[in-house]
Amino acid sequence: MDKVGIVGVGQTKYERRKVGETFFDMIYEVTVKALDDAGLTIDDIDNVVTVSNDFWDGRTISSMAVQDACGARHKDISTVEGDGVYGAFYGAMRVLSGSFGTTLVVAHNKCSQSRMNQITNAMFDPIYTRALGLDAVTSSAMQARAYMDAFGVTAGQLAKVSVKNHRNAKNNPLAQIALDLTVEDVLKSRMLADPLHLLDASPITDGAAAVIWANETAAGKAKKQPVWLKGVGHMSDAYHLGDRDLARSPALVGAAGKAYAMAGIADPLKQLDVAEVSDVFSYMELMWYEGLGFCPEGGGGGLIDSGATEMGGDLPVNPSGGCLSANPVLVAGLARLIECVLQVRGEADARQVQGCSTALAHGIDGPCGQSHCVMVIGK
């Protein structure tokens, strides 16, 4: 694979309700930030990929709202409707194709502007499932139950993810919710849908993010050392919840396998220095440990107990605070990738993992993490 790397990144602060800002404002903000970070101008950008979702935005052709904000005039442009990591992957492909030297990828969402239940209810099949009234919370709760029953993972172990990530968020000035919690705090928080408590769930968040990819030649113009794409893979499981073994994530195993093969990773726990995974709910982080091969199947609870994924552990996971601390849906995956870039660059300030040279970013799409995208980046 030819070299393609990230030379610029930008994020807004993640907030519950950005009343004074439109999608346009947020995308402009992160575009300017990413360009400044890269030391490039909008004229250095050869093409643009936007990431947005018509349902979340309440707008058909949701990309129409932002294409001028990200400077796409007189440029090729496309839109991925899916998590930001997928959009980032597509942006990288466009550079690897040889057609473009640089790609700007931007993502936005204002979850505060819509009703989560109805938006996520719409991902269920209109003929067989939607009328039942499921949404992201209740469907994920069923997955959490299946996972816990299959492997004896406890509510306390789920809570540890929430404790870790909310505490990590204290080191991330952009995170929405930073808290000092105990396991008991999580277990005492309001029940949403058994077994998920309020503090097991990510918040409603508004935000935007941007990355700039460049090939080797174009990267020469950038201010900072690029963080190179080492490996990437994506894969989807079956759709109907009852078609799947909800306690396991074979699609993640498949996606990670591809990414690891390209990046030469045989022992992820050893060879990765940091991972930013999509912990939309606490139990998901434990499941994704297993799918990513950080521990054997069923070992997610044991891994969080061991402390290996804490700051200072063998493989810190979500130093940024993860989705549990800020979840602008779709943007969240791009934020995971950006956090990894900052880690590899050594620019992660208080949340820096020392000596970081290889990082993993992960995003999900569809009900109960049906589809996964894994990206390994490094020096």
């Binding site: 707008r59 058909t60 090729d76 040889g98 990437v232 994506h234 079956a238 759709y239 589809s371």
Partner: protein, 385 residues
């Protein structure tokens, strides 16, 4: 460097006002099966799936994950791309970049729409900016009518001038078994049809259609093994125009002009009418059929009516436009752009049956959508250097 990419198989369902016999996913599967059969491949051979439609027409969120049973995406890489009317061409471009990147060898691009399942205008209105534009604006026809109106004002074109496009495309559709509308009409028929939004009349306007289209893209390492005459992708460009409806001049389709200006030099086109053997263009109204071809430099500004009415763009003419019948004959919105790509590819591959332009070696296909997005793709029989 990137890989060279070709189209090696296509499939489409026959356009219909309402496919009641299948749900959306089953309709997708029909097109996918046809494409796999055309390419003599199986689901196992496919390395990635890319799918597109306009969400609010079917009311399903995360269509890529929903459709895996029909699309073949089970335990495969899947991605959703959506850009409104240009979705079909955007999906094709995404498939191209997937393969050109060198990371995927055989990629399945799917575009589909079941317009019968929703209120098309009700859904399209939601494309427009909610605070300023949406309360006063109505659907796709309104915007297209504004463009037609402006064009007539600037260049003195008449409704009759434009009507020939409708006659031409509908006549072509009679030879396309997959076209939704197959009607033989005259200019008089067009002029007598009811007015929808001045100057666009019923027969000037495209239908709304249920259909799916699937196209298989392959890298240079596989294309010639799979297909005796693959359609190579020579170049791709796209451009867009506005944030608010009133942002851009409407007398010319500026985004298409911009895209053509960017594409032609890259592939050595100086006289498009001469150098292309056939075109499948996204022309949603007859007026677009005279106005937008000027943006492609097929003739000077204001010269569209003369060129079209001369018969140069009819089957048998110098450069036939829309042998398939075009968008005026079938408009399953998420698939419409991909149908242009598929039809252009069929011409190069020599598989266009009764609508084949003899010895077609270079094809130009276009996509269009709100906000005046224009996509262009050039296909050729000769592998690019």
């Amino acid at each position: 460097m990137g890989k060279r990419v070709a189209i090696v198989g296509t499939g489409q369902t026959k356009g219909s006002s309402g496919r009641k016999d299948v749900n959306g996913q089953e309709m997708i599967n029909e097109a996918v099966m046809k494409a796999l059969t055309d390419a003599e491949l199986t689901r196992d051979d496919i390395d990635a799936v890319i799918i597109g439609n306009m969400d609010h027409f079917e009311g399903i969120n995360y269509v890529d994950t929903w459709s895996v049973d029909g699309s073949g995406g089970y335990m495969k890489p899947i991605m959703k791309v959506t850009t409104g009317g240009t979705t079909g061409t955007t999906v094709a471009m995404a498939a191209y970049y997937h393969v050109a990147s060198g990371l995927f060898d055989k990629v399945l691009a799917i575009g589909w729409e079941k317009n019968s399942e929703s209120d098309t205008t009700g859904a399209i209105i939601t494309a427009f900016e909610p605070i300023v534009d949406r309360p006063t604006f109505a659907g796709a026809v309104g915007g297209l009518a504004l463009m037609a109106n402006r064009y007539m004002h600037e260049f003195g074109a008449t409704q009759e001038d434009a009507a020939y496009v409708a006659v031409r495309d509908r006549r072509h559709a009679l030879k396309n078994p997959n076209a939704h509308l197959q009607i033989d009409i005259t200019i008089e028929d067009v002029m007598k049809s009811p007015m929808i939004a001045w100057p666009i009349k019923y027969l000037d306007m495209c239908p709304r259609t249920d259909a799916a289209c699937a196209v298989i893209f392959a890298s240079e390492d596989y294309a010639e093994k799979i297909c005796p005459r693959p359609a190579w992708i020579l170049g791709i460009k796209n451009r867009h125009n506005f944030t608010f409806l009133g942002d851009c001049a409407l007398g010319t389709l500026l985004s298409l002009e911009d895209a053509a200006e960017a594409l032609y030099p890259r592939i050595g086109i100086t006289e498009p009418l001469k150098q292309f053997d056939v075109m499948e263009l996204y022309l949603p109204t007859s007026f677009a059929g005279v106005q937008w071809i000027e943006a492609l430099r097929l003739c000077p500004k204001g010269g569209g009516p003369e060129l079209v009415n001369s018969g140069a763009t009819d089957m048998g003419g110098q450069c036939p436009i829309n042998p398939s019948g075009g968008v005026l004959s079938s408009n399953p919105i998420g698939a419409t752009g991909l149908l242009r790509v598929a039809e252009g590819a069929l011409q190069i591959m020599g598989r266009a049956d009764k609508r084949q332009v003899p010895d077609a070696k270079m094809a130009l296909v276009s996509g269009f959508g709100g906000c005046n997005w224009s996509d262009l793709m050039a296909l050729g029989a000769k592998k690019p250097d």
